[in-house]
């Protein structure tokens, strides 16, 4: 159990997450076990006790419902959170030499919220130490 507390778990291949009903609080665990969360993380995410959750997860693993992911398995799936919207092209020349993306005046994101945010950021941009 020592290592298990830090292991990240996900549903075993073939365990249908959608529609399947296991009851006993197991469906919620399976729904949230995404390979990123440890038993402790799942307990906090669900507002349950860490001990009871870890115990239940170890039972589920013994029954073949869950597997632990290897330590670095999350690398590829996590890349999904990369921005999908076509923002500024990567080759756009930056005003500074940092190479980091920059907002440009008059070019807003696809949504109004993005436009508001861009204005907000202009107002809040840290000024030089002179002020």
């Amino acid at each position: 159990m020592e290592g298990y507390q830090r292991a990240r778990v996900e549903p075993a291949p073939g365990v249908a997450v959608d529609g399947a009903v296991f009851g006993g609080g197991r469906d919620e665990l399976l729904a949230l076990a995404n390979g990123r969360r440890t038993p402790r993380d799942l307990a906090f995410a669900l507002g349950r006790g860490v001990y009871a959750t870890t115990l239940e997860l170890s039972r589920m693993q013994r029954e073949g419902l869950l597997v632990t992911t290897s330590h670095r398995a999350g690398l590829s799936p996590a890349a999904e959170s990369e921005p999908q919207s076509a923002g500024e092209p990567a080759s756009a020349p930056a005003a500074d030499n940092s190479g980091l993306p920059r907002r440009r005046r008059g070019r807003h994101s696809e949504s109004d919220a993005g436009a508001d945010m861009s204005m907000l950021l202009r107002l809040l941009r840290p000024r030089s130490s002179s002020d």
Binding site: F44, S81, S109
Partner: protein
């Protein structure tokens, strides 16, 4: 160069500090550079993180308390911690309510230095698609 080094650094931090649920690196302009936040909108998180850090820095200088260390938002369900990465980027971390904030601040210092070195060294651009 892509953002895999950034991703690895953020995941290493997540391994070192119990309770971190997500991490993202954004430019000071609020544009996402690399996000590891599957359940959140990384674009909004990046924009708000940069704005929030800007406000915190203005507050810090207004009250004359020196250099801003970090900006932390604490809610009923968890934390958001924002760190400046050099002058060009920010690191934003989300954590659940069991996050050890003291440990987070200690460990984040090295992570921020690593990320700053990665950004300075490699011409990382916003990866699209």
């Amino acid at each position: 160069m892509n953002g895999d080094g950034l991703l690895a650094e953020m995941q290493a931090l997540r391994d070192r500090v119990t309770g971190i649920t997500g991490a993202a690196v954004a430019s000071r302009d609020g544009l996402i550079i690399k996000g590891d936040v599957p359940d959140l909108n990384a674009d909004n998180l990046a924009a708000l993180a940069a704005a929030s850090l800007g406000v915190a820095q203005r507050m810090s200088s207004e009250v004359g308390q020196g250099l801003l260390r970090e900006s932390v938002t604490r809610s009923s369900g968890g934390y958001v911690a924002i760190y400046a990465v050099g002058r060009t980027a920010v690191l934003v971390l989300t954590g659940d309510e069991g996050l050890d904030v003291g440990r987070l601040h200690r460990e984040s210092r090295t992570a921020v230095e690593q990320i700053e070195a990665l950004l300075a060294g490699g011409g990382i651009t916003r990866s699209v698609g």
